[in-house]
């Protein structure tokens, strides 16, 4: 089980690889689309990479609920 900080750091790595986001810009209150400029297709790639990294299933109908980095951290923390 990873801490919230560890999950944020892991998501930061994924966001850098998938969408070229600077890890320093990634924090829980940031919106994927508004603040980090992650488009809908890159979001899918982030989700797929997060499933592998954290050993969690994130179904298609959940993806739209993950608006901020914090939303994703909470989902991963409670489902991993």
């Amino acid at each position: 089980m990873s801490s919230r900080e560890e999950i944020v750091a892991g998501l930061g790595q994924i966001l850098e690889e998938v969408a070229g986001v600077k890890p320093a810009d990634v924090s829980e209150e940031k919106s994927f689309t508004e603040d980090l400029d992650v488009d809908s297709l890159s979001m899918v790639e982030v989700v797929v990479a997060a499933e592998e990294k954290f050993g969690v299933k994130i179904p298609d109908d959940q993806v739209q609920n993950l608006k901020t980095v914090g939303d994703a951290v909470s989902y991963i923390a409670s489902n991993a």
Partner: protein, 315 residues
Amino acid sequence: MTGSRVLSLGHYQPSRVVTNDDLAQIVDTNDAWIRDRVGIVERRIAAPDETVADMASAAAEKALAGSGLSAADIDLVAVATCSSVDRCPNVATRVAAFLGIEAPAAMDLNTACSGFSYALATADHAIRAGAARNAIVVGAEKLSDVTDWTDRSTCIIFGDGAGAAVVTATAEGEAPGIGPVVWGSAPDKKDTIRIEGWQPYIVQEGQAVFRWATTAIAPVALEACARAGVDPSEIAAFVAHQANARIIDGIAKRLQLSQAVIAKDIVESGNTSAASIPLALSKLVERREVPSGAPVLLMGFGGGLTYAGQVIRCP
């Protein structure tokens, strides 16, 4: 057992070019957004009176002309399409009539965007079974007929066109030129791409389809290579369904194709569903980007959701 090989290819695209800027006139979109999300710069759109059968016939005529065979030699016509408006007669008999092929087995086949790979496999199987000797296999679509031109999420994606291949039995002792097909479907995701009802429009759940295509298709392509006995590093060209440049890049990355030309006809043709693989392949061969005899990986995937892939020897 006798196998089969692709003898020649041909393609046809309508003359009308529609650019991203043209689309920005009718829906709220722009060139940069379309290039970034799907990788399309322009697409061809058929004339109002130009049919799927017209485009299929034009592509088939070119493939037949390049084959060295005559119409009388063809005993199977298989057309992959999901956008032909008429139910009967089918497109295949119209193509046969246009080319003057007198009595071929003639069938249409609909597995949406994976259709060409399904039809190519079906022709290969018919030849292996002794049910045919020389086949014309076509992928042809007029998606503009089933496009909602007020929906900016779909109307930017699709185009019209056709591609065709002449497939013939290999000589005794000659290695097969069409490898074993790996095909299947994902019925649990059947509603993610729909062209339903009377006078329908294409509707799709883009994110769900993107996720499936970027995760489920690479393993199928690798299996197609394995079943053909070809290592991915030996593949000379990768011709995937031209769905979205980012999907093509995503699949190609997972395949680790170290020397393959990656077909990106989507840039100038858009997504033409069942027509996209033969269209892209025919253009690659016409531009001499793939040596004759080299292994080419074809990978169809799309509505259904369905998929089919195989390795062929480049004509």
